[in-house]
C-alpha cells in the first residue's frame, strides 16, 4: 500500500509539474495573458512536448517490460519493503520507476486506460456528429436539415450558426435589435445577404436609404476554399485544449465528418457556411442577375410597396403543408432599420406591426428566412415588446465603449472586441422546448481583421497572479445584458 501511495504521490508531483509548466507558458512570467497567436503557438509546442514525452515513456515501458520480465520477482519484494522508511518515499518511487516492473505495469495500465478512453471516445464522437452524418446530403447547397422537420440556411457567420444550433430555420423571422449609435447590425445583415448570394438564393433587400442597391457593393466576399481551410485549422489549433492531443489522430476523420460540408469540399458551392472576408467586396457577378430585388422604404406610405414586394417574392417559395421539407430553393429577405425615423411610416406603429404579422404569416408557409433589424429605442416600449414577441429568433447587438477601464479589466481579450451580441430567443418551430444556451452574450471579434467571429466572454484572471486562466474562463456571463459575473 505504501508503494501505491508513493506512486500516487509521484503522479501528483508529475501532474503538478505539468500544470505549473503550462501556466508558466501561458502567463508569461509577469501574469500578462498572451495574445491568441502566441497562445496558439504555445499550445502546439506543449502538445508536441507532451506527445514526445508520452512516446518516450511508452517505448521505455515496452523495453523494460521485455527485459525485466524474468528477473523481477525478488525486486518487487524489495521495492515493496523499501518505501516503509517514511522519508525516502519519493526516492524509492524513483527507484521503482527505474527498475520496477510493477511501475511499468502501472504505466501500461495507464496507457491502456488512455487507449480505452480513446476507444470509448470514438463512438461518442461519432454519436455527437450523428445528426449531421445521418442526415442525407442536401440536394441543394446552402440548406441543411434540422430537427423537427426544419431546414436551416446559414447566417453567414459560422459561429452564429453553431450558437443557434445550425442556422436560421426556413420560415422563421429573425429580428436584430440595433444599437442606435453603432452599425453592428450591418455586419450581421451583410454576411446574411452575402451567404445567400453565394448560394445563389434570391434576395429581397429593403432599406431606408436613398439608393438601396448601392449597399450591395459593400457586401463581403467569401474566402477561397484554401484560405478557408488554413483558417479553420488555425482556429482549431487555437482552441485546442491541452489534452486535445490525445484525440489528435481522431481529429482528422472527425473533421471530415463534421466539417465535410464546410472545408473539405474543393468547390465553394458545396459549403454550407462560408467565411467572409470583410475587406474584399463581393464579386459583381453574384448580384448582377435578376435574383436581387432592392426596395427603398423611405417614402412608401403605409408600407404598401414593401408589402407587395414581399408578397411577390414569397410567392416563389410557397410550400403546402404536405410538401414540407422537399424544399428545392430558399429565399432570403433582409430588411434594414424598418422603423427608421426617415421613413414615412415610422410613427405608424400599428401599420408596421401588421406588416410584420402578415410577413410572418406568409413566411411560415414558404421556404424563406427574413431578417429585420430595428432600433428598439425608436419604438414605444410596448411596441418594441410586441416586435420582440413576434420574432422567432431574437438577437441584439451593441457596441462596446472604447475606453471602458472597468470592462477592460473584467474581460480578457477586450482590446480585440468589436461589439457584443446577445441571443435572446432561438427559433422554436415545430417544438415546444425552449433552447437554453450556455451563454447568451458573445463578443464580436474580427479574426485577422477579416473574419467575423463570435466568442463567449472570458473573465480575465484577477491580477494574473494565479495564472489560472483556463480555470476561470468557463465563467461566461449569464443571461442579463449587464455584464454581471
Amino acid at each position: 500500500m505504501a508503494m501505491k501511495s508513493a506512486l500516487s504521490r509521484l503522479s501528483v508531483v508529475r501532474s503538478m509539474e505539468s500544470t505549473r509548466g503550462a501556466t508558466r507558458y501561458l502567463s508569461d512570467g509577469k501574469g500578462r495573458i498572451l495574445s491568441e497567436e502566441e497562445r496558439a503557438a504555445e499550445t502546439i509546442y506543449i502538445q508536441k512536448m507532451e506527445r514526445e514525452r508520452m512516446e518516450k515513456l511508452k517505448q521505455k515501458a515496452e523495453k523494460e517490460k521485455a527485459e525485466k520480465e524474468k528477473e523481477s520477482a525478488d525486486k518487487i519484494f524489495r521495492l515493496v519493503i523499501e518505501p516503509d522508511m517514511g522519508s525516502k518515499i519519493a526516492y524509492s518511487a524513483e527507484v521503482s520507476f527505474d527498475s520496477g516492473p510493477r511501475y511499468v505495469g502501472h504505466m501500461r495500465t495507464k496507457l491502456h486506460s488512455v487507449d480505452s478512453a480513446m476507444a470509448t471516445a470514438k463512438p461518442r464522437l461519432s454519436s455527437f456528429s450523428r445528426n449531421l452524418a445521418a442526415v442525407p446530403a442536401p440536394q441543394t447547397p446552402g440548406l441543411k436539415c434540422g430537427p423537427n422537420g426544419t431546414t436551416f440556411v446559414s447566417s453567414g457567420i459560422p459561429d452564429l450558426d453553431k450558437i443557434l444550433g445550425g442556422g436560421f430555420p426556413l420560415g422563421s423571422l429573425v429580428m436584430v435589435m440595433e444599437d442606435a449609435e453603432a452599425p453592428h447590425h450591418m455586419l450581421l445583415l451583410r454576411n446574411f445577404m452575402s451567404q445567400g448570394l453565394v448560394h445563389n438564393q434570391p434576395l429581397l433587400y429593403a432599406s431606408p436609404s436613398k439608393d438601396p442597391r448601392s449597399f450591395l457593393g459593400t457586401l463581403p466576399s467569401p474566402t477561397s476554399s484554401k484560405d478557408d481551410k488554413s483558417r479553420h485549422s488555425d482556429s482549431e489549433q487555437d482552441k485546442g485544449l491541452r489534452i486535445a492531443w490525445q484525440y489528435k489522430k481522431y481529429m482528422g476523420e472527425h473533421h471530415q465528418n463534421f466539417d465535410g460540408n464546410r472545408s473539405s469540399g474543393a468547390d465553394d458551392k458545396q459549403v454550407f457556411c462560408n467565411d467572409f472576408d470583410l475587406r474584399k467586396p463581393l464579386e459583381r457577378h453574384y448580384f448582377s442577375g435578376q435574383r436581387v430585388d432592392c426596395v427603398g422604404i423611405q417614402d412608401s406610405t403605409k408600407l404598401v410597396a414593401l408589402r407587395d414586394h414581399c408578397a411577390t417574392f414569397l410567392a416563389q417559395f410557397s410550400r403546402s403543408d404536405r410538401t414540407e421539407g422537399s424544399s428545392s430553393c430558399a429565399g432570403r429577405i433582409a430588411i434594414q432599420s424598418l422603423c427608421a425615423p426617415q421613413c414615412e411610416h415610422s410613427n405608424m406603429e400599428w401599420d408596421m406591426l401588421s406588416f410584420i404579422k402578415s410577413l410572418k404569416g406568409k413566411l411560415r408557409s414558404s421556404n424563406t428566412v427574413a431578417v429585420i433589424t430595428f432600433p428598439p429605442s425608436l419604438l414605444s416600449p410596448s411596441s418594441s415588446k410586441r416586435w420582440q414577441h413576434m420574432a422567432d429568433t431574437l438577437l441584439s447587438v451593441g457596441a462596446i465603449p472604447d475606453e471602458d477601464k472597468e470592462l477592460a479589466r473584467l474581460l480578457s481579450g477586450y482590446q480585440d472586441m468589436v461589439g457584443l451580441l446577445n441571443v435572446h430567443k432561438v427559433a422554436r418551430i415545430n417544438t415546444q422546448v425552449p433552447v437554453i444556451l450556455e451563454a447568451t452574450t458573445f463578443s464580436i471579434k474580427l479574426h485577422k481583421r477579416r473574419f467575423l467571429t463570435l466568442e463567449c466572454l472570458n473573465q480575465a484572471p484577477v491580477d494574473g497572479s494565479s495564472g489560472s486562466s483556463y480555470g476561470t474562463s468557463g465563467g461566461c456571463s449569464g443571461s442579463s445584458k449587464t455584464l454581471d459575473f
Binding site: 423537427n148 403543408d321 414540407e324 411560415r364 420582440q388 415545430n430 415546444q432 425552449p434 442579463s480
Partner: protein
Amino acid sequence: MNDNQSLNLLDRALGLEQQSRPWPLSGRVVLIEDRVETTASFVLHQLIKRSLPPNSSNVVVFVAFANPFSHYDRVLRKLGCNLVTQRDNNRFFFFDMLMLQCPDGDEGKSKVGLVSLYEKIHKTISSLPEDKKSYVTVMIDDISLMEVAANGASDYVLDFLHYCHALTSEFGCSLVALNHEDIYSNTETPTFILQIEYLADILIKAEPLATGLAADVHGQLTVLNKATSHGLGSSRNKVYNFHFKVKENSVEYFYPGSRG
C-alpha cells in the same frame, strides 16, 4: 379516469383532478400570461392534450394567430395527441387566422373581421350535438396578435373576448387565452390587460427566474385560481407556485428547490 397518477402540479392547480364533473374547466376562463424570455405556449399545448382525452367527447375550438396547423400538429403528436385524427373526428376545430387583417372602422360590415370570427365560433359550437356543447374549450393563441390584426383597436378585441366569455355562460364551455404580459407593463394605465385579467377565473403566469434561465429550470409558473362560484366551500383565492422544465413529450413541474 385512471390517469390520476399522471396528473401533474399544473393539473392539480387547475383543479383537473376533480372527478365529479367530466370537464372541470367548463364555464371557466383561463388566462395565460408570459414574457419574451419565457414563453407559456406549452401550457396551451398541455391544455389541448387534457381537453382531448382519448375516451371522451370533448371538443376544442382553436383560434391560431401565432402558428400554422402543422406546428401544433407536430408538437401535439410528440405529446401523444394526433390533431389530424381529432380534426377528422370533428373534435378539433382549427381556425387559421395568421393572415387575418381587419381594417379598423368598418368592423361590423366587413366579412373578415373579428365579428365574423365570433360568428364562426358560435356556429361551430351551436352545430354540435346537445350533449357535447358544455365540453367545448375555445382557445386563442394569442391575444396580442389579435390586437395587431385589429390594427390596434383593442376595444374590438375586448368586445370579442366578452362575447367569448358570454359563450361560457351560454353553453358552459371554457375559454383559454394566451397573452404577453410585458407588452402592457410599460403603459401607464394597462386597462386592456386588467380587463382580461378581471374576466379570468384562473390566471397562469410564466416568468423567468430572477437568477436567469438554466438548463434544468426553464422558469416558474404562478397559478391563481379564483374563487369557484359553484361550490359552497371556501371562496378564497388559491395561489400555486412552482418551477417547470419543458421537454418534447412532457413538462416537468416541481416545487422550487426540489430539484438538485
